[in-house]
Structures are given as C-alpha cells and as structure tokens.
C-alpha cells in the first residue's frame, strides 16, 4: 500500500489484528463453552442460570471486543455499542419494576 492511500485510510482507523490474538480468543471461547457444559452437571440452585448467563455475557464481550474490533475502534463506536447495551438494560430493569412488585399488592 502506498503512503498516499494509507493517509486516506487514516480516518477509518483500520487496525490489523494478528492471527495469534484471534487464535487465543477462539481457544478461550472453546474453553468457556466446555466450562458451561461442565458446570451444567453440577446443581447450584438459583445460581444455575446466573452462572450460565455470566459466562455467555463474557463470551459475547470477547466476540464484540476482538472479533468485531470494538477494542481498537474509536470512542464514538464504543459509545454506539454502549447505547445499545444501555437500552437493553432499560428494557430489563424497567420491566422488572413490574415483575418484582406484583406481589406487593395495593398500597
């Protein structure tokens, strides 16, 4: 690539991720999948779902950060993803105001 085209691409902040990083993430994802499967054989009561979801969230974060290059992206893109997560949390938390308090009855 000539210097000139590199200059025009500077704006897009293209970052090349090395294959070892991809491999490490891939292995981590496989290990976490194995962990999810393994832990499903142990009964942890209410924590069954909590732990499975926590591992799933961690895996999703790895994919978004490294496979989807968010870790190397501009703050604007990070903010964009954060907006999506924030909206999702709004959906969950405000819906929960209904579900946790239905048993409270009238007041």
């Amino acid at each position: 690539m000539t210097e000139k085209t590199q200059e025009t691409h500077q704006d897009a902040e293209v970052h090349v991720v090395k294959p070892p990083v991809y491999l490490a993430i891939f292995l981590a994802l496989l290990a976490l999948t194995a962990l999810t499967t393994g832990i499903s054989f142990i009964d942890l009561g209410v924590f069954n779902a909590v732990i499975a979801l926590a591992i799933a969230c961690f895996k999703a974060s790895l994919v978004v950060l490294f496979f989807m290059h968010l870790h190397y992206s501009s703050r604007l893109l990070k903010l964009t993803v954060a907006a999506g997560i924030f909206t999702f949390l709004l959906l969950i938390s405000l819906t929960m105001t209904d579900y946790i308090s239905r048993a409270w009855g009238m007041f």
Partner: protein, 553 residues
C-alpha cells in the same frame, strides 16, 4: 395579504436543463437508482398508495359506526378492517412518512453532502418496505387479520385462526427498512457534513431526524424479536407468552410497547422537524431557543423509552410500576412543551405570512397541543382507568398522529414540493384544502373525546343508540376530511405539468437546499458548499441576495 413568495418571471423561466429527474430515463433507472432524491420519490409514491388503502379502511369504519347496530359488515369483518387500518397506517404510512420521503430527500442537501452515506442500503430499505407492504396486503387479501395492530397475546397466539404470521412478517420486513433509514441518517449526519457545518449550525430538521434515527435503531429490533416470538408461539407453542408453560402474556406487551411507544416518537419527531423549518421561514425569524429545541428532540427520544407501561395500566401490572411509569410519562410533556412554546415565541413579532405550509403548521400547533394535553389525562392513573379502551384514547392518538403528524407531513410536502419538482402547487386551492382538512379533522375527532368520556368503548362495531348523534358528527367529519386529503392528491400531480416554475428559492428560505437549483442536480451541489453562517440567518440571506449577480439564460 402579503406574501414572501418570489417566483421568477414566468414568461422566460424554464426548468433547469439538467436535474435528477431527467438525468436518466426509464423504469430501470428508477428501480436501480442510488440517488437519495429518487428513492425519496419512490417512497413518496408507495406510502401514498398505502395511505389511500388505509384511508378507505378508515372510511369503512366510520360508515359502519354511522348507525348503532352492526349492519354494514359482520363484526368479524369489522375487527379485520380496523386491524388492517391500524397496521397499514402505522407501519406502512406514519413510520416512513416524513423520514423516508422528505428526510431522505433533504438530509444530504441540508448537511451539504452529495448523497446519504450508504446509497445501496437506502435502496434496499425501499425494497424491504415494498416486500413488507406486499406481505401485509397478502394477509389482507387472503382473509385478513383481526388482532388489532398490537398483536396482543394470548389473542394473537392462542385464539385466532387468521393470517397473523403473514402480517407480522410484513411488519418485520418494514421494521428493517426503517432501521436502514435510521442507520443511513446517523452515519450521514456524523460523517458527511460539509466544511463549516457544525452540529449547532444544522437545521432543526436534521436534529429531529437524528433523534428519530436513534429510536429507529435502538427500538425496532425489539419489535422484530417480539414478532418472531409471536410467530414461534403460534407455530411451535414455545410458551414464552403462555402461562400454562411458565410464560407471561403481559411480557409480550412489555416487549411490544418497548418499541411501539418510542415508535410514536418515530412518527411525531420528524413532523416536529418539519414544523421548525416552516415556522421559521414564514415568520422570517430564527427559531427561538435553537439549542433548546434541538436538545428537546433528543430528550423526547430518550424519555420515549421510559414510559411504555402506560399502555398497560389496567392490564394487571403491579401498582408500584404503574406509579413509576405514570410519573415518567408526565416527564415527556416537558420537552414537547419546550417545542410548542419555542415555536410560539418564534411567531412573536415575526413577519408572519399565511402560505399553505404555514396553514398546516398552525393546524399542527393547535391539534398537537390538544393531543398532547389529553395524553396527560391518560398518564394520570385514576383518570386512565375511566378513559382507557374508550374512544377517548382513539381521539387522543388521532389528534397526535393525524392532527399532528399528518398535518406536518402535508406542510412538509407543500413546503418542499417546489424543491422536489421545480414547480409550485396552486396556492388558492391548496389553502382551501388546508382549511378543509382542519375543519374535517375537528368535526371527526372532537366528538370522539366526548364519546369516550361518556364511556363508548373502542373496537366494537355496535354501540348503544344514545351515542349516535356524536357518531354521526364524526362520520360526517370524516367525509369532509376525506375531501381535504383528496384535493392534494389531485392538484399535486396536476402541478407537475401546469404548476408555475418555482425557481431556486421561492420562499426565500435560508437552508442550503434552497441555495441550489430546483429540482437539484443528481450530485446535489456543483461544488461542496462551505457553511459560514448560523442556521436560519435571514440577514445572511438578504446580504447574499443583494450582492448576487443575476445571470440570464
């Protein structure tokens, strides 16, 4: 009456030799175009088509309600007619109305860009819209849907044997079309503003559309997922909304309204965006409190996500959460009121003229205010128990959606018609149409507030004879309103051939789009403009016009 319209000398005036309309000819040049202006025209034609269908269905509803018994159609058919009216008007008309037509046409022109950021995604968005429309029409032709536009569970999942999945599929596709429109607008506004076009020099039209796009992108996926869940529940009984399997039918409503309440702001914010431009131009003043109006759009977009449960107050949600949501619903009134007050302050001591777009804008101000204030009634918990599921609700959201949004849409179409086509619409008849629309609207929907307060429920084909007088008023009003909408559909196409040549800037408006030829070139600007003044700077315009060299021929 004074006017600010300044047209070129009609004896010598001609349309520009080259423009986006005559750059290429033939059907293929339209169906495969990447030009945002042509895609806007494609959208304009298709949403007008669906508006006519939705309007005819509305006419059928009003005809049925002319008399107390269910005599024009069977009650089942009535259910299908009002469901289809809602689905078509909301998903195929109101959601894409201003953004996909006027917004598509104007956002690049207003920020000084040659096109939207992703022209092909823009075209794809139109094809998805058409595909969605075909699905909805097939659901109607194959026998209809009678869930209401809200697809409420367990009715939609357990009790109905109509084409629920087909219609839901149509809405799913139309939803993606609106996500793509929003995506395009956000990227364009961030990345493609011309030199000197800072965020606070953007016209308020762009701010309004930016806020709308945020809701489109963050909200619509939730609707898509919810509709997929309904389809899975119907076909495979997965049990998410089924209490016998540990699900909850109200969960559907939480998910559905999480999109569909913000969707109300997808519909109204672009309307407000149009009104800011129109009011400023026809009172020759900068919009009062520009920054407040700009941020109130964003505030409405954010608050819009915090209020959805007010659609469910009487449906078994907890008292505590009803309290929380009632309070937050009141909060949305604040940014809406900021807008209304600031527009009124813009009018104060302005040089107001009464061209057609301004008449529609005045209609918007009055009707939207009534619609908004009756929303406060409904947000109040005790009042809501009396009024919900009655005609009061129907009147309330028609005041906001038809009285607000449709008025704003028509204001926008008339305001930018000269820019889109290069020709003026006929002024006298269009003013008449604006007044007829306003009168027809009031006569149609004001009686519905009274009907609802007196206790007439919505969604029934029959009603007690006591309610007939007000229903006759409403149906009579609907026929007046119908004429009001029919007139633009006749004179706007007429003006394409016989309208006066508009010239670049018939309204003497300040936006970048008015400084180029009408209709614009395919590449919009011969040279990318440099923005060296604030938005709505009428002194800048006067200076520019004074020193402009007039070239003839």
């Amino acid at each position: 009456m004074s006017t600010i319209v300044s047209l070129p000398d009609q004896a010598t005036a001609k349309l520009p030799a080259k423009s986006f309309l005559n750059q290429e000819y033939g059907l293929k040049s339209w169906l495969l175009t990447g030009d945002h202006k042509r895609i806007a025209i494609l959208y304009l034609i298709s949403i007008s088509f669906f508006f006519v269908i939705g309007g005819v269905l509305a006419g059928l509803i009003r005809l049925e309600l002319l008399t107390p018994p269910s005599d024009l159609m069977a009650t089942d058919t009535y259910n299908k007619v009002f469901s289809m009216h809602g689905i078509i008007m909301i998903f195929l008309f109101l959601v894409p109305s201003v953004p996909a037509t006027i917004g598509n046409f104007l956002i690049p022109l207003m920020v000084g860009a040659r096109d939207l950021a992703f022209p092909k995604i823009n075209l794809l968005s139109w094809y998805l819209y058409v595909a969605g429309g075909i699905f909805v029409l097939s659901a109607m032709v194959l026998g209809g849907v009678d869930t209401g536009w809200t697809f409420t569970t367990p009715l939609s999942t357990h009790y109905l044997n109509t084409h629920v999945v087909t219609a839901a599929m149509g809405i799913f596709l139309a939803g993606f079309s609106s996500i793509f429109t929003g995506l395009n607008f956000i990227v364009t506004v961030h990345r493609m503003r011309c030199p000197g076009m800072t965020w606070f020099r953007l016209p308020l039209f762009v701010w309004g559309h930016y806020a709308t796009s945020i809701i489109m992108i963050l909200g619509t996926p939730v609707l898509a997922i919810t509709l997929v869940l309904v389809a899975l529940e119907r076909t495979m009984s997965i049990g998410v909304f089924d209490p016998t399997k540990g699900g909850d039918p109200l969960l559907f409503q939480h998910l559905f309204w999480f999109y569909s309440h913000p969707a109300v702001y997808i519909m109204i914010l672009p309307g407000m965006a149009v009104i800011s431009e129109v009011i400023s131009t026809f009172s020759r003043k900068r919009v009062f409190g520009y920054t407040a109006v700009a941020f109130s759009s964003v505030a409405i977009a954010v608050f819009g996500f915090l209020v959805w449960e007010h659609h469910m107050f009487i449906m078994g949600v907890s008292q505590y959460s009803a309290l929380v949501f009632s309070l937050m619903t009141m909060l949305v009134a604040v940014p809406s009121a900021i807008k209304i007050f600031n527009w009124s302050m813009t009018l104060y001591k302005g040089s107001i003229t009464f061209e057609t777009p301004m008449l529609y804008a005045f209609g918007f101000l009055g009707l939207f205010t009534i619609g908004g204030l009756t929303g406060i009634f409904l947000a109040t918990l005790g009042m809501d128990i009396h009024l919900t599921e009655t005609y009061f609700i129907v009147a309330h959201f028609h005041f906001v959606m038809v009285g607000g949004m449709l008025m704003a849409y028509l204001a926008g179409v008339h305001f930018w018609w000269p820019k889109m086509t290069g020709r003026m619409y006929p002024e006298a008849i269009s003013k008449t149409a604006a007044v007829i629309t306003f009168i027809g609207f009031i006569v149609t929907f004001f009686p519905q507030f009274l009907l609802g307060y007196l206790g007439m429920p919505r969604r029934y084909a029959a009603y007690p004879a006591d309610f007939q007088v007000l229903n006759v008023f409403s149906t009579a009003g609907a026929s007046i309103l119908g004429i009001g909408y029919l007139l633009p559909m006749l004179y706007l196409p007429w003006s394409l051939i016989y309208g006066k040549i508009a010239g670049n800037n018939p309204w003497q408006a300040t936006g970048l789009e008015w400084q180029i030829q009408s209709p614009p070139l395919t590449e919009n600007f011969a040279e990318i403009p440099i923005m060296d003044h604030e938005a709505y700077d009428y002194e800048w315009l006067a200076n520019k016009t004074q020193h402009e060299v007039q070239t003839v021929g």
